[in-house]
């Protein structure tokens, strides 16, 4: 029943741009889908208590490597994006492996990764001769129009379908992780590392796998954002505020459910847009004001997020009965 509903909704989403073509709404959908994918990528590891504040860094790597390879090396994004994913993955290993090896967890892990997003932001700003620094960077247009080779499209419909496909793939990865043995291993690790190790879980390897997966997905989101917007700046794709924004949206939507990050993206982006349209420039700052209050309220009163709480309310919990 739920399965067929899911397929139906998916088919509806694919058919949408052929029926409905209002450019602004399609643009909004594309942006929501790209960010949903980024948030889903974060939650793939975040749900196991591996709270990273460094994902802004991975997103920045994804966007800038792709754009720099295209502008400076003339490398098509079809090669540039895999390069960017590789760079993100390598960076993740460099930082995460020692972290896990030396058992840097919890607060400390969050703060080390915070330093990582700081580093990426500062490096982008410092190498302003190549990256444009804080003024931002634009991939060169390939002969002015759409091109499959340059992965540049002027039509919103094409981008909508690409973003939808990537977002769907992100959800699929989430499901695969959810159904895998890895999930049990990681849940055991997040409860008790020593216990998990004693039960035969290779703690470092399991954590490293999920971190690299999550980092590469985030880098892909960054590359996609770059190709769609055709403009990136250190503040829109990297840095600490982007990292916090990811965590925030996921917490609002729900960390432990597949559609949580997506719902978080829909709510946060729509909130910002509605405020921007109804109040114009007077609204500067109001969206984050509301975000901030919501974030605190959610963590205090609804730590499972919107979708998580709905799922809990609809489905009687077996775990609750067992615990009594």
């Amino acid at each position: 029943m739920t399965r067929s509903l899911g397929w139906l909704a998916g088919a509806g989403l694919v058919a949408l741009p052929f029926v409905y073509q209002q450019p602004y709404h399609l643009h909004l959908m594309v942006v929501i889908l790209i960010w949903s994918f980024a948030y889903t990528s974060w939650s793939v590891m975040g749900r196991f208590g591996l709270v990273s504040l460094g994902h802004g860094g991975f997103m920045g790597i994804g966007a800038y490597v792709t754009a720099l390879a295209w502008n400076h090396g003339g490398v098509t994004p079809w090669i540039g994006i895999p390069l960017a994913l590789l760079a993100g993955g390598i960076l993740a290993v460099l930082v995460a492996y020692p972290c896990f090896r030396f058992r840097i967890t919890g607060h400390y892990f969050a703060l080390v990764t915070l330093a990582l997003s700081g580093i990426v932001l500062q490096v982008i700003t410092a190498t302003r001769d190549h990256t444009g620094g804080s003024l931002g960077y634009t991939p060169t247009r390939h002969q002015g129009g759409s091109s499959l080779y340059a992965l540049q499209f002027t039509g919103k419909t094409t981008w909508y379908l690409i973003a939808l496909a990537v977002w769907g793939a992100g959800l699929y990865v989430w499901y695969r992780v959810d159904r895998s043995m890895m999930r049990y291993a990681l849940e055991a690790i997040s409860e008790d590392e020593d216990g998990a190790a004693a039960a035969g879980v290779h703690v470092t390897a399991e954590k490293l796998k999920i971190t690299v997966l999550s980092a590469m997905m985030t880098a892909l989101a960054g590359a996609l954002y770059c190709q769609y917007q055709m403009f990136i700046s250190p503040d829109t794709v990297s840095g600490i505020s982007i990292s916090l924004q990811m965590v925030f949206a996921v917490v609002v939507g729900g960390i432990y459910v597949s559609l949580g990050p997506t719902v978080g993206a829909v709510i946060t982006i729509l909130l910002a847009e509605v405020l921007r349209i109804s109040f114009g420039t007077r609204a500067v700052g109001w969206d984050n004001l509301v975000y901030g209050i919501l974030l605190v309220l959610f963590i205090v009163f609804l730590p499972k997020g919107i979708v998580g709480s709905i799922v809990d309310a609809v489905r009687p919990r077996r775990a609750g009965r067992l615990a009594v």
Partner: protein
Amino acid sequence: MAILDVFLLEALINGVLLGGVLALLSLGLNLVFGVIDVVWICYAELIMFGMYGMYFLYTVYHWPLLVAAAVCIVGVGLLGVLLHVLVIAPLLGAAPINQLLATGGVLFFLQSAATVMFSIEFRNLGLRLPVLKLAGMFISYSRLLAFAAALIGMVLVYLFLARTYTGAAIRAIAQDRQIMVLMGVDARRIYLITSALGGGLAGLAACLLVLQYDVHPFVGLSFGPITFLICVLGGLGNFGGGFVAAFVFAELISLGGLYLDLEWGYVFAFVFFIVMMFVRPAGLLARRS
């Protein structure tokens, strides 16, 4: 070839002066973490509000500088108490990461509240302190003043913690949160005092920073992350470690800025931080267990 040329010496001295302020910044955060076991991600935003307070009281309403400073220190101290009562207290039993994220929400809130109230213009005190010229080096009085005030502030906090009954209770709570409650220490009262003290230190830092930097709603992002990294590098809750780490960081930034760009100074400091996390994960001064 002189190794200790004038520019290097100037950079080194400026590094030490910057280190004093950073040490003060990290002291407040360390105190709160050591006692309450919570990281105030929004710490730098409290400082930002203090800076605005100084700007409005001194530049707009023309209060005497010292009175304005005193009001700001008390005001930010109260903000700290408010933060504790409204956000931290309900989450004391929750997972540590939730507390971290909740103060992250407060960060968003304070930043945008400042944007809404004060707009995004850069404002400064309009107060120009003279520059000290010494053997061909330029050292600004505002930095010297900040350094001295930071040292005095730290000594006062040290005396408070070491010599008073309440200070002893605060240190005891930091060592063992469960037992001290059984010994008759009112943990809630200690938490409130600590939050006020942490906020007050943020207020003092604000008074000193506003002498050197313009204030704008996002000013917190420029020194907030550095403050956390210093605390972690020194070992969260370890006051001495934070002190040493602040000076190491300040020198790295200052020297990196001398030889390359200021951003590279930050990059070096961040990379140094990550490397040190692997070498000494529990902090610079931690004893190896």
